[in-house]
């Protein structure tokens, strides 16, 4: 064994001394060999879960690999010439032509309008009815695509407008490149999509999740705790809970729309449905996990039933409730996007779904990335809260 020399010398001394010696002994010691010696002197690490911890550099590597995969699959690297820029130049030419054509139409219309004014004046002077105005419905070009940003906005009212121009950059059969996605994100955060910025979409989605989780929790937790405390209530609620729990909230979207119409209400109610069963079960098992000794200790210290409930059973269930919150948040987030796909005009899901009509794959990807990042951030936030609020978790 390579480390024998150093170990033999240091065996009677403290750990630190062993290490110091091993480092100096050179090629025959564990410290100076080809393999770097671990600081905790473990000889067995494969299979030892305590030897598995996070290595930030490897996490970074994973992120880099993901980005590289994205670049490669979208052919952002290694293509002869700059296809994307060529496509963009082509697009701006097409767009410029469109603007020019539009301007011609506007000019022509203005000439027509001026002629009309003269005609109408003459008619009025002659005491006759004036002729129909030329700018009746559908007759005049009212939208004016003067800039790229406004062009996007102008498309909101007309699904067909600008379709050709954009399909040249964003091929619907292919992921948008990271750069296009970044540009899309920039436009979305300043101008927005369908006149609503990405921040507004995000705010609407988060607010829906917050309401759904709030009501799911304040209704679910008391029911779950009651189930953990009373045989009658447990038996009463067990059947509905077990029957409703396996229903995927997505299966209820059509029913929710039929009952509550489109918009905010069905989405929030679906989210309550998504989180309530999870919270009931978390509260039930948290309540049942209470140590009988703790309850008895509280009673023999003079606590009333209510005090035992609020001062012992509830705090004791907090770790389980936090686990429930994290699970419910994940499920709610997924359900929300699906509910918004169908039933609402705003929110990230609605934005992604609407982008489909304009082949705006960049908008879709921006929405997807935001959903992913927010999901991670919310989980980190809850874990942070958990560490602050239930520091005794796993130590009891």
């Amino acid at each position: 064994m390579a480390g024998g020399f150093g170990e033999g010398f240091g065996s009677g001394v403290s750990d630190g001394a062993t290490l110091g010696l091993a480092d100096k002994v050179g090629p025959f010691s564990g410290g100076g060999g080809r393999f770097k010696r671990r600081s905790d002197n473990k000889t067995v690490t494969f299979g030892d879960s305590s030897a598995v911890h996070s290595k930030p550099l490897w996490s970074l590597l994973a992120l880099i690999l993901l980005m590289a995969a994205w670049y490669l699959t979208t052919h952002a690297f290694g293509l002869p010439g700059d296809v994307i820029d060529a496509a963009k130049a082509e697009d701006s030419r097409t767009h410029a032509a469109a603007v020019e054509k539009h301007q011609e139409a506007v000019d022509a219309f203005e000439v027509e309008l001026a002629a009309y004014e003269v005609e109408a004046e003459e008619a009025r002077a002659a005491g006759e009815d004036p002729p129909d105005r030329p700018d009746g419905p559908g007759k005049a070009p009212r939208k004016s695509p003067t800039s790229d940003k406004q062009f996007v906005t102008a498309c909101n009212a007309d699904p067909d407008c600008g379709k050709e121009a954009y399909t040249q950059i964003f091929r619907p059969t292919q992921l948008p490149t990271p750069r296009d996605t970044w540009n899309g994100f920039f436009t979305l955060s300043t101008v927005g999509f369908r006149n609503i910025t990405i921040w507004e979409h995000t705010r609407v989605s988060l607010w829906r999740v917050a309401r759904g989780m709030f009501f799911g929790t304040i209704v679910g937790v008391p029911i779950g705790m009651a189930m953990g405390l009373s045989s009658r209530l447990k038996s009463l609620f067990d059947t509905p809970v077990e029957l409703f729990r396996p229903i995927p909230p997505l299966a209820l979207i059509p029913l929710a729309i039929a009952f509550f119409g489109l918009g905010d209400r069905p989405a929030v109610r679906l989210l309550i449905f998504a989180s309530i069963w999870i919270m009931i079960i978390a509260a039930r098992s948290g309540t049942q996990a209470v140590n009988l000794s703790k309850v008895r200790a509280a009673y023999s210290l003079g606590a009333s039933k209510w005090q035992v409930l609020t001062r012992v059973v509830l705090p004791n269930a907090l770790p389980e409730l936090f686990t429930g919150l994290r699970v419910a948040l994940g499920v709610s987030w997924g359900t929300l996007v699906a509910a918004e796909l169908v039933g609402t005009d705003d929110g990230l899901g609605a934005m992604i779904f609407a982008a489909r009509q304009f082949f705006r794959t960049d908008v879709m990807v921006v929405g997807i990335v935001i959903i992913s990042v927010l999901g991670v951030l919310m989980d980190i936030g809850l874990r942070f809260l958990e560490a602050r609020l239930v520091p005794w978790r796993g130590k009891g």
Partner: protein, 265 residues
């Protein structure tokens, strides 16, 4: 000091699909106030059941327990309880655990703060008031449990194997603390233990209990607890009287264990 009286206590557990188990059969005794009674016996002799009946956590199927002439029908702050482990409230600090009883009884903060400080000193945990209980060692946690129980100034303190989960050295130290608290406060203490040595050393009175049905097999009046703090504990435990009693009790318990093994085969 109030007297603790058990009158013809019986406890029969109904087992689904099986013979009913008699955990306690006709247990009667009188315990004068201020005594330290230890309950000793093999597993299944009903010592913890007896403790839970006296604490009011279980209602006996026959007979009754009386404290100062009043029947015991449920838990109350007159009777404190110290558990083996896991009964502290992890979400509270040491000081908050100790003040739990007074707070439940709506004692004002200014009044119990002093009590908490005194108790921290009594159990040797000065300066640990703001620590979380899970940051303490097992022995320190049991010190908190003792202090928490004393904060309500109960008439009787029940201890269910309070030192059972501690290592040997800590256990000996904590035995000294139990004796010290008993002598200083003059409270009635009933302590359940598995350890013959502990039962002899701490008990000023001792019941050896026997199983099937759970009953009091033999009663001892013991001299060791009264002098336990004045004499070196190891010396006392090595004295001929101590060893003689210990061997006698041990052989009695061995006989019971053998009977159980024989009976079940």
């Amino acid at each position: 000091m109030k007297e603790l009286l058990a009158h013809e206590l019986g406890m029969v557990y109904q087992v689904p699909k099986g013979e009913p188990v008699t955990a306690l059969h006709d247990v009667s005794f009188e315990l004068e106030g201020g005594r330290l009674l230890t309950l000793l016996g093999p597993s299944g002799c009903g010592k913890t059941t007896l403790l839970n009946v006296m604490a009011g956590f279980l209602a006996p199927t026959s007979g009754g327990v009386f404290l100062g002439g009043e029947p015991i029908t449920g838990p109350s702050q007159d009777r404190g309880m110290v558990f083996q482990q896991g009964a502290l409230f992890e979400w509270l600090t040491v000081a908050e655990n100790i003040s739990f009883g007074p707070r439940m009884n709506r004692v004002r903060k200014g009044e119990y703060n002093e009590t908490v400080d005194d108790l921290l000193e009594t159990v040797g945990l000065q300066g640990f008031g703001d620590k979380r209980v899970y940051e303490l060692s097992g022995g320190m946690q049991q010190r908190v449990a003792l202090a928490r129980c004393l904060a309500n100034d109960p008439d009787v303190i029940f201890m269910d194997e309070p030192l059972g989960a501690l290592d040997a050295l800590t256990r000996e130290k904590m035995q000294g603390l139990v004796l010290q608290l008993w002598q200083e406060t003059g409270k009635t203490v009933v302590l359940v233990t598995h350890s013959v040595e502990e039962a002899l050393y701490l008990g000023d009175r001792m019941f050896v209990m026997a199983p099937r049905p759970g009953r009091i097999e033999k009663e001892y009046e013991l001299p060791f607890a009264k002098i336990g703090l004045e004499v070196e504990p190891r010396e006392l435990k090595a004295s001929p009287e101590f060893i003689e009693t210990r061997e006698e009790v041990l052989s009695m318990i061995w006989d019971m264990e053998e009977q159980i093994m024989g009976g079940s085969n």
